[in-house]
Amino acid sequence: MKLTVWTYEGPPHVGAMRVATAMTGLHYVLHAPQGDTYADLLFTMIERRNHRPPVSYTTFQARDLGSDTAGLFKKAAQDAVDRFNPQAIIVGASCTAELIQDDPAGLAETMGLSIPVIALELPSYSRKENYGADETFYQIVRHLAQPCDRTGRITCNLLGPTALGFRNRDDVEELTGLLSDLGVDVNVTAPLGATPADIARLPAAHFNVLMYPETGEAAARWLEKTFDQPYTKNVPIGVAATRAFVAEVQALTGSTAPADESRLRLPWWSASVDSTYLTGKRVFLFGDGTHVCAMARMARDEMGFEVAGLGCYNREQARAVRACAKEMGVEALITDDYLEVEETIAALAPEMIMGTQMERHIGKRLGIPCAVISAPVHVQDYPARYSPVMGYEGANVLFDTLVHPLVMGLEEHLLTMFRDDFEFHDAAGPSHHGGHAPVA
């Protein structure tokens, strides 16, 4: 037992929901007690989706136990197929159903449904949300991908974007544009926006772009092994990483078409004199492994910050994060206990935190500015405006994101210079609030 208030990740079946909700034409039949439907509101409220997640719950109650929960599951599965007419269904159990051992996989297989039934084994008491998403996507790909000829033009798949992913919507758009510059079309983006029929033709692509290792790596590895599709290792967050990604794609495709950097503004913005004050600002990074590693390099090399410390909550990325920390000359913090994160931040006393919504609150408590760079995030980080973090526009977005929490350079200079001035000292108050009215 472990006492917890805040959890960075949900249970693994929420990861499966993120894959199911990302896709269309797929339905998830989840053996789960009444109440587990709470997870729907993550999608309808935080991500502001305009439809219910494609999930049917058995919502069994106490009176159902010991009688026929297996029957309930079969009825829910049949109802879902009849009502929603999906191309395929995934079936699995939540933490409680895992304990009653009804075996959704076996039950669904005996029903003789005319569509593919993909069974999920998600160990709720040892794994978490990201594993759930990665494993679910892998199982879907493994069951549905069909051998097919490579497309005539050079194409790739975008792997890993899901529902409730941090900026996944706009990262997909940004990379699609970037690849188009390089003469590469996107064959299928998955799971976000894909149907089971799309999954079947994943092997038609020449290679895969692994956007988010947390949610797409198992599928990428399997596709490499089974269909000889290489996948990209560079996650294009930051200017240098994007250029490395471009070079990697060029090497994979032999394409010589250049990427369009005409709207890339980060390098000049960062070089301009107003940014000088950013030099050596001490930052602490925490989040999922992929975003933390990519943004640590970007913070150091492209913003001129000093990385005071970094870490991640998902153990699956611990190795990469330790390597990155070593590169930065700091200690990696691998933990899912926010109290440990808070202690570390307090001890390091950075000038800015780059983290999740939890670090935002830690920052508020400690009086340290914070920029959000990774899930889990709240509703404000599913913005209406275009805000990728990948590619060249992503670099522009990140420059703004990382500068805004800090006091502006000139402002800081003036405040320091005139701090002791009788009109500008901290207690004087702003002039437009009548702070200088003569004392009566």
Partner: protein, 427 residues
Amino acid sequence: MNVPVPPPGGGCRTAPVLKQRGQREVFCGLTGIIWLHRKMQDAFFLVVGSRTCAHLLQSAAGVMIFAEPRFGTAILEEQDLAGMKDAHTELDREVARLLERRPDIRQLFLVGSCPSEVIKIDLARAAERLSQIHAPHVRVLNYSGSGIETTFTEGEDACLASMVPVLKDTVARELLLVGALPDVVEDQMLALLGQMGIDNIRLLPARRIDDTTAVGPNTVFALTQPFMGDTHAALIRRGARHIAAPMPFGDEGTTAWLRAIALEFGVPDATFDAVTAAPRARARRAIAQAAEHLRGKSIFFFPDSQLEIPLARFLTRECGMTAIEVGSPYIHDAIHGPDLDLLPAGPQISEGQDVDLQLDRVRAARPDLTVCGLGLANPLEAEGLTTKWAIELVFTPVHFYEQAGDLAGLFSRPIRRKAALRLEAAQ
């Protein structure tokens, strides 16, 4: 004058109830912790459950999670599932650590969840054992907020029912008021009753453990919330008597509720009228303002909190709305009956849920306003229906006279917003 007139066509108490079983789109009872821990200022709620339980509380509590809340989840891990004895040792250790860190805690609730109920961790025995270990400073109780046993507000019912057996005995003739209300509303309620000369009042739950809430054969109790089935039964087992009344929503509901208590305590009519006249007038004025946007509009309730029946009664009788369907997760005749008597005949009363079939009905009826949970609200808005998300009705002060206008306002706001937005023209 003070007794609400039953509707001419008869009420809904004997109306046929549509009972369906299927997928239920509701919260489990664990969510009750979110408002109970604010009310009981020296209590800590320790859920024994899974990561799902912790994730649910985090999702439902929103930003409250960052305010050092007095609740948490002891997450079961693989090793805990292997042997039961282990689980008890683990629990003892976590509780000891918790109480050491938070010495201000006087009452600890071990809250059962679906996983702990299914593997049958005996939390009742654990509570007894822990009570002995940590006595007299801390009292440890247990109840279940699991989804397999409780729906949303029933978590509060289960919590309060767990406290009834340990309430002190009394033979005094006292009024016990049952249901957690926001402090400001509780104070208004006590002031109104006090002005009528009723001041031998106890509260369940009390704000602190040292408040002397007692019960006995001369206790009469009134419910301020309709979801108190088990607590109702537990109090009757202790010899207390229930004062049946409509729930104190709106002018009529509040007046009828106070009236039932006034009759029980022999308050003279003149006193009753003198005390209630001014706040009644204020409530009526405030309701009239919000009701402008509600009159003639139809409303459809998905089941959520058991507040649906009394709220439908208020909205139809005092705001001029027409109810199409009133869904409630559970209906208790002894508790919901007085409100059903007053609810004009016509709406489909439904208990339980098969959410896909209910969605078919709401789409066919196309009501002007749909009261539903957050998992359904945005999808229904996208289909062109106007929705009021139901959870707000549990968190917001909505009881008694002074809140009557705000209560109507909660329902009129989505309708006013729909009218205010001119998004089609801008496209």
